[in-house]
Subunit: 131 residues, 6 copies
Amino acid sequence: MSAYGPIEYRDASPEVRAVFDDIKRARQVDDVNNFWKYLARDPATLKRTWESVKEVMATGRLDAVTKEMIYLAVSVTNGCGYCIASHGAAARKAGMTEEMFGELMAVVGMANETNRLANGYRVPIDAAFGS
Amino acid sequence: MSAYGPIEYRDASPEVRAVFDDIKRARQVDDVNNFWKYLARDPATLKRTWESVKEVMATGRLDAVTKEMIYLAVSVTNGCGYCIASHGAAARKAGMTEEMFGELMAVVGMANETNRLANGYRVPIDAAFGS
Amino acid sequence: MSAYGPIEYRDASPEVRAVFDDIKRARQVDDVNNFWKYLARDPATLKRTWESVKEVMATGRLDAVTKEMIYLAVSVTNGCGYCIASHGAAARKAGMTEEMFGELMAVVGMANETNRLANGYRVPIDAAFGS
Amino acid sequence: MSAYGPIEYRDASPEVRAVFDDIKRARQVDDVNNFWKYLARDPATLKRTWESVKEVMATGRLDAVTKEMIYLAVSVTNGCGYCIASHGAAARKAGMTEEMFGELMAVVGMANETNRLANGYRVPIDAAFGS
Amino acid sequence: MSAYGPIEYRDASPEVRAVFDDIKRARQVDDVNNFWKYLARDPATLKRTWESVKEVMATGRLDAVTKEMIYLAVSVTNGCGYCIASHGAAARKAGMTEEMFGELMAVVGMANETNRLANGYRVPIDAAFGS
Amino acid sequence: MSAYGPIEYRDASPEVRAVFDDIKRARQVDDVNNFWKYLARDPATLKRTWESVKEVMATGRLDAVTKEMIYLAVSVTNGCGYCIASHGAAARKAGMTEEMFGELMAVVGMANETNRLANGYRVPIDAAFGS
């Protein structure tokens, strides 16, 4: 097995297949995304990451589309191309319309701008916000 | 006037006062936050930034609390201390409960983790997401 | 000597003193900034960093104030508090006025915003810019 | 209309066309860059962003080439591929020579290095710089 | 209970106490760090994060000091003040000497510099590294 | 000579050739990587960067594979595609196995997650770590 690249279901060990099966069942898809196939190089990280993502992204006080939009906002800020593509798709599947995406991007852009204005002007935290 | 620091209302030029007045009216507060007092060093940036923030943060398809949470997610990712404090306060004022904040932070943390896993494993974008 | 903290001139080894002397001579100051006193924990890094900074910041096709403003723009983008303070001071010493600082910050803020808009909208590079 | 991709002039609404026309006039170009065609998905962001960029990038105390180099320094620090390409081209058009670009890159690299040295050595801000 | 701040052991719920006890046992300390006391606001994140950290930081092919130095390198790059302090302490406890820290910082600084040189010069990936 | 792109050995000036020759000798390779060919546009930066990298990456208290893994951790965190590819290859050449890479990535991911948890929960530095 080469040192780098995806692991397909047919080549996967039983423990990797178990995670792939759980992803496919939870998301009702026929195949898992590249992300999971590449993580499968390290079965412990594959399993831990999937279980954390499943727990974190489950609907709680925030619904699925809100969580996916927050995920997307972080990915856009970090400039992670894969994550922007995959979580953009996930957000749209969860109900994000083009108008909602437009508003999300406007907030993300503005936050990245004002973050630097606050940094550069060395603005001290207002007493009202706590120390 | 020193080269650095906040400009208080009593020391402000008419154009700066006009922006401060608009902020106080829009947010129904007695005084503006430090951020605006420091930006007041550059009246053109003060005016442009406030008008952009007002437009971007207005309720549209996304409500106020969702927008503030997205702002907070970006600020946390960038590690902007002032912005985390101010937009954390704004998000709470707009209705973010402690449980919602907990879920927000869980998503932000997970997104920052998986962004790096995608980077490091050099995962190519799935055809299904577009090129 | 404790494992962490600044090294003052009186406590410094001859090789550290030689670098401190060169900094004081080049910048015509009585004492070096905290940055150099902390780096002095690792004399090799102290020497290499000072020599690189001295070479890079020397006037060439770009003059001193332009170089300091670029340094500041990077530091603001990274949110490095120490670097914003020290290179803000250096830029002012080199001739940056409050108006110039205001314009610098406006550009830095705008660049951080549009960087994320380009990321999020997944804009492909125009053919005219080269591949 | 699909949910993703550029909007060409021929398919644009009157409000988008008005912005495109203003960009073409201001920059004396026959067509706008991909950035604006993708932003056109959200006409409000297109209009606000263009008006801000036009205001911020106008010659003031800093000339056009200095502003474009600062823009480029931020884009390089953030690793925004599109922005590096487009603002690299804009900076060259405004007069940045290859030697100036080399010096710019040397400063950007050095600033990113020393930002981390300041972080890691936990250097406190010198009293001389203000608190 | 206020909406923000640490939760001490005496005020903690049984599920939070169980995590605190496990941390104290694993690390052989009398009290947990502030990080865990603040995370305790969200017991699910506290539990998941501790279990992940425990699994990830366990000795495997990489020993404890190597893992802590990698953790520190990331924290320095991100400019996370708390994390630099806490993982600097952890790395020293695991055996990082002052000389090792100096070399670590030199590599972190150099990597942050060359990352930007590679970005700015738009260097394409060599065929030898894979596409 | 065009304003952008690599400089091959056959087209290089004597000072650039001298650096290329030193890289080839030190690394025992037939040709230098693209990184150096692009840097060759600015011979001063080429020379200074190579000499710094050679000094920093030399075996000291940390061995070559540890240094390359730290370099890789930073590059993954910054999302520098070229650097991930080139230093991933260098780390593997220096002895990083697939298992070691998996553990490295797990730590990098976890550090990026907990950095944001520390930011967002605004955790103050424990007295035990120093102020």
